[in-house]
Symmetry: C2
Subunit: 194 residues, 2 copies
């Protein structure tokens, strides 16, 4: 409960927190957000997105008893998604409507079926695979990702979930580009080869 | 009439034309656009924008007699703006409503007054200063720019309008960041110092 991001804490998001996009989510008080290179990447987070798919642990903490329907997620009364969100879980429950347009839909489904449901909910817009790590990995393995943005942060965690496990040869399916931001973060874009 | 971008032709936009954002404007046929680093910058062109301000020459060619109200702009019946557009001109004419949500409003005004009008039209969203060069320069000189994206293309024009003329010390008003895209274009972001 005290460490939703494990021992990494907020260090993986430090580049993003001061940006305009994240500031407008309310993570940073009343201050105006930055508008440079990092914001340029951060702003794609919600541009054109009509629904998100997330793993169960992005919705709630790991050791919680299931089902526990009193738990309304890590994200407060007004979560920053403002769209339908499909939560992958082996313990489905009724949809949970929050303030600000976010509704959590709990689904026990394979990636392809979850994506089909999210597409229905997205109203013609794109679907974001919001993580965590193992959820992204499952969707990569099922070849259901068209575009991916990775922010590579120069810190050393030493342990944790590994995104690239089992992804040998990914560069043959994606055109990969990278730039180093002045903040020290390297932004990588993965685009499905056509 | 044959060279709306002068002797530069389309070379200054070549990096942008294959991107998803520009492809969706219809500049590139039916093909799907690219989604890499260049698209990340291109996508900020219309994200959160509620109105544009443009100079007269972005609306129509230079040597045309004025007023000539039969001329409906360079941009075809369905211009790519899809918002109100304020056209700065010494020869105002009634508003011109196009397909797809673009309406041109012709205004003989100083930058600050044009911005005030564009803000009214933008419905709480941001206002883009869409160019050309001398229009951007006027708004920089009036200190009315909060954010700017420059794509520096490695070609040598040798002549033309100069954006930086008279802008000595601009770096004291703006935090400037730059990255080189794999396409060879250098993207610069200018953010007003706070």
């Amino acid at each position: 409960m005290e460490a939703p991001f494990g021992h990494a804490g907020h260090r993986l998001m430090e580049w993003a927190i001061p940006t305009r996009t994240f500031t407008e989510m309310g993570f940073h008080g009343e201050q105006k957000g930055s508008t440079g290179i990092d914001e340029t990447f951060a702003s794609r987070w919600n541009t054109g997105i009509g629904a998100e798919i997330m793993g169960r642990h992005k919705f709630g903490p790991k050791p919680r008893p299931c089902p526990d329907e009193s738990w309304r997620g890590w994200w407060g009364d007004n979560p920053p998604f403002h769209t339908p969100v499909v939560v992958l879980t082996h313990h489905p429950r009724p949809p949970l409507e929050m303030d600000g347009g976010t509704t959590f839909h709990f689904l026990d489904a394979e990636p392809a079926d979850a994506l089909a449901r999210a597409r229905e909910l997205a109203g013609g817009l794109d679907v974001r695979i919001g993580g965590g790590t193992s959820t992204v990995r499952e969707f990569l393995e099922a070849d259901l990702i068209d575009e991916m943005h990775i922010a590579l942060v120069p810190i050393f965690l030493g342990r944790g979930e590994r995104l690239w496990d089992g992804q040998e040869g990914l560069e043959q399916r994606f055109a990969i580009e990278s730039v180093a931001s002045p903040s020290g973060v390297i932004h990588l874009t993965f685009s499905r080869q056509r």
